[in-house]
Each structure stands twice: as C-alpha cells, then as structure tokens.
C-alpha cells in the first residue's frame, strides 16, 4: 500500500515537474523569440512600407471599434460619475473624473483589450495560416527570413498603433463624457473643461497612460506573433492559437496594468 502511494506521489511530482519545465522552456523560447524579433527591427524600418501596411491593418482598420467603444465608455462614465458626484455637490468635477479615468486607466486598458481581440487575433490567424500553407517554409527556402519579413513588421505595427489607438479612445471617451455631461445633463461647459484642464497633468497622468499603452501594445503584439509562429499547422492548431492570443493578451494587460499602476501612482498618492 505504502509502495503504491509512494509511486503515485512520485508520478504526480514527475507530472508537476514536466509541466513546470515545459512552461519555463516555453517562456525562455518566447524571450529568445522577442530578442530575434528585436534583432530584425532594422529590417522592419528599412522596408518601411511593410510596417506601414501593418499599421494600416492593425491601427486604421481598428479605428471604428475603438472610437465607438470610447464614445460609449465616456458616456457611461459621465452618467455614473454625475450620479455619485451630485451626492457630494461636486458635479462640477465631472470633467476631471471622466478625463482621469480615461487617460490613466480605461483608455489604455480597454483599447488594449479591444486591440487584442480585433488585431491580435487576426495577426495570429494570419501567421498561423501562412505556416499551415507552407508560406513561411517557402520564404525560408527562398533565403528570406520570415522573422524579418513577416513577424518584425507585424510586431512593430502593433507597438506603434496601440498608443495611438489608446489616445483616440480617450479622446472619443472625453467627447462622449462632454455630450452626456454638458449637453444632456446640463453641467456648465466652462466648468467641465476648466476643471479638466486644471486637474489633469501631462506628467504623471498623460505620460503614464501613454507608457501603459506602449507596454500593452508590445505585449499584445509579441503574444500575437509568437502564438501564430508556434501554432500547430492544422485548422485546430490555428483556432486554438487564436483563442490563446486573446486569453493570454487580456490577462497580460490586466496583470501588467495592476503592476504598472502600483508603481506609477504610489508616489502620487503619498504626496
């Protein structure tokens, strides 16, 4: 009996060990992959039309969903914020509430999540299908490195698009907040904009928001190209890689957001 138990525990430990070493080696592979992509960065910028094309696909084509979501999020923020602020007679502060919430948190985070599900999944599926149909192998056999020709431009296209999308999301959100707060509820327009101008600082508020969106852009782009590149070359392989991109990206954004917020605004709160 004891021997069986010991064998069971040993097997469980072995499986645990295999899972951990598998995860660690996967992480190491992703890190090496990132280094390889960065190594090929000059190529992505020397052949700038490749990167511009990716900015168009990931950035410009995401504009509608980003602007519409931003508008609605801003409108909801304004409605909810007004209800709460009114209780304390601080409804003049609505502008600053909407702007800070968007610029610091909601802009980068929600546009990051939308970016992962709209552009990230498309990048993974595209690279995965290129692998499945042997297009990447064909490129290698033509002495063209797919990391330089396919992966690096998509990575940098995402890194560049993401902060721009986050900024537009925040701008659309602030406009939505203005529509509801000033036009619908009837807060004084001067107070709305004036409080916002006085209360939102370029440093730390806007800059930190931009830093966050750049980090999210890099994380989502890396996850997207990596999952596509290692996808199993079958229909199920590409499907599960696409799902993993969205799930892992979303978790990464939320986790990174917590860590960055903790570092960025700790000093501000203490002061």
């Amino acid at each position: 009996m004891t021997a069986e138990l010991a064998a069971g525990i040993a097997q469980w430990l072995r499986r645990l060990g295999a899972t951990v070493t598998g995860a660690v080696s996967q992480l190491g592979f992703a890190a090496r992959f990132l280094i390889a992509v960065l190594w090929h960065t000059p190529h992505a910028f020397r052949r700038i039309h490749l990167t511009l094309r990716e900015i168009y696909f990931t950035g410009v084509l995401s504009l509608v969903i980003i602007l519409m979501s931003g508008l609605f999020v801003g409108m909801v923020l304004s409605l909810q914020g007004y209800e709460t602020l009114k209780r304390y007679g601080a409804d003049e502060q609505l502008g600053i509430l909407v702007a800070l919430a968007l610029v610091r948190e909601l802009g980068p985070v929600i546009s990051g999540l939308l970016f992962a599900s709209r552009a990230g999944s498309a990048i993974t599926a595209e690279i995965g299908l290129m692998k499945t149909t042997e297009q990447l192998a064909a490129m290698e056999m033509m002495a063209v490195d797919p990391l330089a020709r396919v992966v690096a431009p998509r990575f940098w296209g995402g890194v560049i698009s993401m902060p721009l999308l986050a900024a537009l999301f925040s701008a659309a959100g602030i406009f939505g907040g203005y529509l509801v707060g000033v036009r619908l509820i009837g807060i004084d327009a001067g107070a709305f904009w004036g409080q916002m101008q006085a209360g939102v600082d370029v440093w730390p508020d806007v800059t930190n928001g931009i830093i966050k969106s750049v980090v999210f852009g890099a994380a989502v782009s890396l996850i997207s190209v990596f999952e596509g590149y290692i996808a199993k070359p079958t229909a199920e392989g590409v499907a599960s890689a696409t799902t993993r991109t969205v799930v892992i990206s979303s978790l990464a954004i939320l986790a990174l957001d917590f860590v960055m917020t903790a570092f960025m605004f700790r000093g501000a709160n203490a002061a």
Binding site: M130, T133, E134, Q135, M141, A143
Partner: protein
Amino acid sequence: MTIPRGKIVAIMGGSGCGKTTILRLIGGQLRPQSGQVRVGGQSVPDLPPSGLYELRRRFGMLFQFGALFTDMSVFENIAFPMREHTSLPEELIRDLVLMKLQAVGLRGAAQLMPVELSGGMARRVALARAIALDPLLVLYDEPFAGLDPISLGVVGQLIRHLNDALSITSIVVTHDVYESLKIVDYLYFVSEGRIVASGTPEEVHASSDPFVRQFVDGAPDGPVPFHYPAPAYREEILSRDC
C-alpha cells in the same frame, strides 16, 4: 544517394516514408541525426545560418500545394525573390516576371490572385517563382499531387523543359510512378528511411524487384503491407479488454 548535375532524379516511395524529409534535409530546414548531406561539395548541416541562406539563394523549391503568398498577386509572387535578393530596377523585374510567366504559359494570369487559380495553374505559378532567380537546383515536393491529367502532363513537360533549357539539376519527390517514368533520368525508391531500389526508367520498367514491381503495378499488398502494424487480428477480436 547521389544526384548528378543537370539531371532529373526522382525519389519515390509511399506516403509518409520520408521523401519530403529528404528535401528538408537538402534545404537545411532539418538537421540529420546521422549521415551527411552535401550540395556542391558543401556539407549543408555544418553551414552557418548565413552560409545556408547563401546556398538557398541558388535553390528553387516547388511546394506540394504551391505555397504561393496569398496576399500577393501572381506577378508579385514571382517578383518576390527578385525584390528580396536583387536591386534590379522595376522595369527589369517586370520583364523578367513576364518571361518566367511566359515559360509556364500563364503570362495572361499575371494580375490574378492565388485564390483565383486552379490547382494546376497555382503549381505552374509556383514553378515560375521557383525558377525566378535562375537556380542551380530545383526541389519539387509532390509536383503531381492532385492534378487533372492535362495539368499533370503540362507540369511534367515543364519540369523536363525547364531542366534542359536552364541546365538545372532537379530532384522530384513523388509517388506518381507513371508520370515520373516519362520525364526523369534516374529513380530512387525509398521505404522506411532506406533506399530499396534505384535505376533508370528502362531499368525500372524491366525490374523484377518485388518492391519496385509493387510500386509500378500499384499492387495493394506486397513488401509494403496493406495493414498498419497491429496485434494478431483473431486475438484482438476475441480479447475482452477495450
């Protein structure tokens, strides 16, 4: 196995016997666990990445289903290796692409996208792309798979003509005995990772080797068994464990 310069050599074998692996070894996409791969006197697995890329510039490869870049037109697909590896002016690239397309008979299809091509046409475009940089060696991975009889003849003849006109060396990996016997200079038969027979088309026709006979005649059973390895039929049917 040796592949003489300027000849067309076929590597034949059943599905899954490692034919495509041989091409990947030659192209350096895989490393051999043992043994050597030499191209033009250079050992492929020992080449550094830069040397490997240098070598591959002198290769052309035709993939099983063409592997055309689906986001580019036929013209751009063939121009791709030229744009990547040369700094030729645009007019010259245009002329070269049209010449390659003329050679495979698809000059009129230059502006089509790969999804608009039939299987045979895609194979011919991929062939034009494989010879875009006038390679020394062209590797064909199942060039005949899934083609109708007319396309089959067209692709077969193209392989022969291009080989002779451009003095290329060609390696054709295939299981289509009938088509390859018409065009190749020499055949190797591979089974379970070993060369089991070889010879010129005449020798193959006259061969009495059981493996070659099974392959050429398309017999369902022989040295290559019909059944995948399994426990004895009677015992498995009568056994009670599921």
